[in-house]
Subunit: 425 residues, 4 copies
């Protein structure tokens, strides 16, 4: 355990950590309550992982980085699992190819649940041990945030799995929503000049949020809410998907090649969208969701606006309270974005991840932690775009203003949406 990791991960690894561990682990299982064994096997595209793979991989993370590394005498549950459930840590060893995760019927769900119980038992012992060092506690805290990320992935993935089944199964039942009207869109003036962003060390954050550093902002303003389904529908009806001049070159190629004509889960008649509660009527007031960066960028151009930079977004979030309690998160059980309400003035946290115009790269002075754990975030700093704010499938206590999510610009299966920005003078 290096000083570097200690510094990076040091955080509220106090008495609450054991409770947090239990809570996160049991929440993951709760999310599978409505799923049959068959549901947990499917990989509907290479980006998607089977539910049972998420259950096992998050467990392997604790086994590999905590128990096997720091718990003397620990016996691994199964010697084949490191190969099967390592995601992308080359520093650990070879791994089962990502695109083939859906070809494995064994271990079964039952066997994986036994694996979870086994690791939980050993983790509980370790967490109860007063000798558990701070650095190790930081690593365990990281493991819980890692599992929360996979809770969101699990929901994104099962939504995609169900969406391609002609029977259109529902993951859960949802209270009927009343279509309303969105409040008028306004712009909030941002700061100009030298600003600071990045992790403030007030709590947990990932390595990619560090170091806190300075940037220079030009005069600009950001929208005070997300773009709605109704607004996006107007873009479609204005021929947005048929006008190359609105699109980035790579975006237009993608539109042509994949025959995109609407957001991922909208139906052909543009009046319904597939949700985790099955096919539902499209609510014009709710934020548009499941659009790629290319679509967000084209929409913004059509609307005579642009997307915000991640610095602009973070500074606005800091000024506007940024209280996760105001947002629509996994804990609320909607699992679907909700119209902007009075509660959260700028709808910055929750609902949908917001595409920024910032390519994902390391902050000035960024260094990944040493060892395999350094592969967590750093090696993805190319070809992806930063998203901010968390979504309705993100756990509430997992988000913060400095949080940087990232996806390739053609990704549409995350819960992604659009906030507009503008240059001002």
């Amino acid at each position: 355990m290096t000083a570097q990791i200690e510094r990076d991960l040091a955080a509220p690894a106090d008495t609450g950590l054991a409770a947090r561990y239990q809570q996160v682990r049991s929440t993951t299982l709760d999310l599978c309550r409505t799923l049959g064994a068959e549901d947990q096997v499917i990989q509907s595209m290479p980006d998607v992982s089977p539910t049972k793979w998420h259950l096992a991989h998050t467990t392997w993370f604790f086994e590999e980085f905590i128990l096997a590394a720091h718990s003397p005498g620990y016996q691994r549950f199964h010697r084949g699992y490191a190969y099967l459930f390592n995601s992308y840590y080359n520093g650990i060893g070879r791994m089962h190819p990502r695109a083939q995760r859906g070809l494995l019927s064994r271990p079964t769900v039952t066997e994986i649940n036994a694996y979870r119980a086994y690791v939980d038992e050993h983790m509980t012992d370790l967490l109860g041990d007063s000798g558990c060092a701070d650095a190790l506690r930081s690593l365990i805290l990281l493991g819980t945030h890692h599992e929360q990320q996979h809770q969101e992935l699990l929901l994104m993935d099962i939504k995609h799995v169900f969406s391609i089944n002609p029977l259109l199964p529902a993951y859960h039942e949802a209270a009927p929503r009343q279509p309303g009207e969105a409040r008028p869109l306004a712009f909030i003036e941002g700061e100009t000049g030298v600003v600071e962003t990045g992790c403030t060390d007030a709590g947990f954050c990932f390595d990619n949020e560090r170091p806190r550093h300075r940037s220079y902002l030009q005069p600009h303003a950001l929208a005070d809410r997300l773009v709605t389904n109704g607004e996006y529908l107007a873009f479609i009806q204005d021929g947005g998907y048929r006008q190359p001049e609105l699109w980035l070159s790579d975006g237009w190629s993608t539109v042509q090649q994949l025959c995109w004509t609407r957001p991922l889960y909208w139906n052909e008649t543009l009046d319904g969208e597939f949700t985790l509660a099955g096919l539902q009527p499209l609510d014009p007031a709710a934020p548009v969701c499941h659009v790629s960066y290319y679509e967000a960028d084209a929409y913004a151009r059509w609307a005579n606006a642009r997307l915000p930079t991640e610095t602009e977004w973070e500074r606005l979030a800091l000024r506007h309270g940024c209280d996760p309690n105001d947002g629509n998160f996994q804990d609320d059980g909607h699992l679907h974005p909700q119209p902007a309400s009075g509660a959260a003035p700028a709808q910055l946290l929750g609902d949908v991840w917001e595409w920024t115009s910032s390519a994902y790269s390391g902050y000035p002075g960024y260094r990944p932690p040493q060892g395999a754990i350094g592969e967590y975030n750093g090696k993805f700093m190319c070809n992806q775009m930063v998203l901010r704010g968390g979504a309705c499938v993100t756990p509430r206590d997992h988000i913060r203003a400095s949080y940087r999510n990232f996806f390739y610009p053609d990704a549409r299966w995350p819960f992604t949406g659009i906030r507009l920005a503008r240059d001002t003078t």
Copy 2:
């Protein structure tokens, strides 16, 4: 029901049909006894179908061609199933893409078993009805043979599914086999001149075995047993997979592209093979299995021989008793080819399907039945090769001397093997 189908299918649709129906249907379920729900979902390659798809498709065959067509007032179990479980009958309507069968978690295994029970109940009523016409009984008999074909496919497919899992699960337990020595290979002189082959109308046969017709045979001889693992190993060790001059041009391209160096399920050290009982030591006396046509053809060239034509094979089978009781079939429970024994003089039936040098095409005068059922066999008469004799995963009462199986020349996941032939003068 046309006269054409009646003529094609007319057969022992007597009192035994109901019993046969019950037996075939329950055997299919028996084959799934050792499988978990997860196992029944996987499609390990486009050629493979998930177990639960086989369970549903064979049921749909009865529902579509018998109950919905001939049972007035019959209510389909689920209106989405015709789309999901139609395999390739364009005459019926559109169908779920074959390569995506493994992306469906729903309907679950439990739901599909309810579907089977529902259709069985209606079929039992129909079979008990004295008014059930002969033509309809013929069609039901066809349905049972169709299901027996899928029993074999189910076993081929689950073998492939398990084989690509790094945990190498076993489908069943097998009694330990004692490696022995194969009896010396001898050649049996065949008939010369005008001969007759094809369905003799003594029992059920498929449309592609008709009409019985004449061909002209040149002087030739066929091997009196199958090529063994030991013999095939010598071919490999002699550099068989590295000498282009032994291969058909398309075969050599395939070897290069897919990096073939041994039969599908052999291990890298050439001393074990993956079986339905897991990884087992390679028995040099047992027939080589899971080779493509290209490999069979290259082996024959290496051995200064050739593959038999289907006419040569069928005539030999007719002369050599051709009693399925002598062969190693699904019913025997080995589910793996066995060394040639004294029992079956020429090892013609059972163990492995034998590649012939005959391209699969219609016999002179062949006409497929009218309607969608005509798509059963006829539309595949291009680019495939005929195989004869049945395999250790074929039900015993499903085979006969005139039976024509067919696969693309690069197929290796069926239980396929090699019999040599020679020109004589």
Copy 3:
């Protein structure tokens, strides 16, 4: 030189051989008269080879199999050419990948013509040498037939090259054709019972036409002319390309995947076709050309007929005179199929290659010649269909009744057409 090749190739290698060599070689160059250097470089799809590759490969054939092997002291023109211009003879050594033939600007056309002149000079010396053995003369004769095959390929290939250029260049000028009306279609009864086909040893033939052998024919009849554009248009207008029940399964997949709606070179309005003389009005009386086996088979099914077997075709050709002088060949300069006329009673030779329902395989007792030359025909005996009769781009003295051409069933760039057949009783 083995006795086997001698026997296979022995033929009229008399004093006329030198003249034939000169004539074939100069005809090849004549065919390039209208082409610029740029035209001779293009490979419009993997199946197509650049003109200059044909010029070099046919020359290499003489250099490799005659001069280097049988002419002591011969110095190769360039040591890199064996790699560049070997087509598929693994027995000779490694070769430049086929699909990359169009990526080579060097050697230039001028350099390749110098190569041709160099080899011609040495070949002329050899042919003038009275000591030139019969076996060698047979091999030279084979080389001239090989070059004639490439003359046809050169024309097929340049037609494809020009067809995909939006400027639609013409290879030559053609006299305007007057659209006429086809004579009514009649059927000619074929022979029944045991018949003989294959090479009669009266002149040159390829190894795949041997040995002469017996087959058994059932009662049948063959059409007395080719299917016309007008007839094929009726098939299209009747929805032929939209009815899966008319197609082989692999054919239907191909139609769907490649979006076929008409023969390869027809325009979208179905009233013109691209020819070597550029875009021309479609003549309803002329034979349909550039259809795949799948289309030929589907058309026949639509017309309540079938395609002939190669044995049926050859026996009819033998009975109907089979004089190449009656047919429309390369020598006539049309380079496009012409309507059936009185001259050739059954339009059997010339115009278009006729798809048969026979898969290409070795005749009973077939053995390829030993050595690399054995790769000429034998290794392609899988997955291809036999075509008979020669086409308007075939040299007249290159064809005979026993000639077996072969292509994959989806090939459309050869000059391929349709003759119907029927079972009779």
Copy 4:
């Protein structure tokens, strides 16, 4: 012509423009002097365009944006050329697919040269016209810079074309170079705090260099010369291509998939590289060239350094004279990078394009020009990385400190190299 374009393009459109036009146009033809017609047809990969396509496309640019738009009564040379030679301007209309540029033998080189002469004649008239407005002169100036970009592309592309030919042809002859030793590497401290970068309006620049704007720089230093072949060889010999921990995730996938083990044009024995003068011995003192962003990034990580940002690079260039006369450019005729010399203190301009760690995006406040010309740069602002400094194939009067080139991170056929950077303090 909008005020926007005027503002963007306004520049030294004085009396020198006609001379510049002539010079650029004739230089392009000079670059083709050593090429045969066959050489000018080849497209060796989708990224590469045939030489004759470059000759025609640059001409079309003047025809489309100047003559057809602003020269009343101008008759286009050929009505099919707008389709064939439009590269990517959707605003103009549909275009021939990029990947098929190498499938066109017509128009021939001769025809394209006639096209060039025709357009040159009309352009000369227009340039001589005293009424030619400033905005139009700016557009013509843009056209000359556009053609200079294609001069570089033409050289990059023909190098690739020749490199895949087993005969390894040379484009030109080069004086023999004496392998030397590189001077020791030192680091130059950069500026810290708020800085300005972007076009200074002192001369021509592209729209993507505007507007001039502020950024904030952290303490850092940049290497005082490029990374050499010798240094890169040490990286290879240390197993650089086999250690995933050195690579970005996308980079490692690319290495695995494309089997990269060395820079694009190095030979297998790592002692020679293919150049425009054919295969030459590798000079350890010369800058490494033809590496992708992934390789540049991995090398920097291995060297305990990083790549510079584009702002860091530009500020250093401004401080260090930045005189193109010091650099090795196309005009010098080497067409290959040269070892760092005393002449150019930091080797910032010429030799190779230097990968920066900056993703290519619009500067704050960036707006593309209106109309089709706005597609020139703006629509590519995603997924690509910025490169700075120009290369040995770039015309000397085409470069400046603010010039932003951009390529996808896996591109290796441009003349790309590596400069190291470091965080300080």
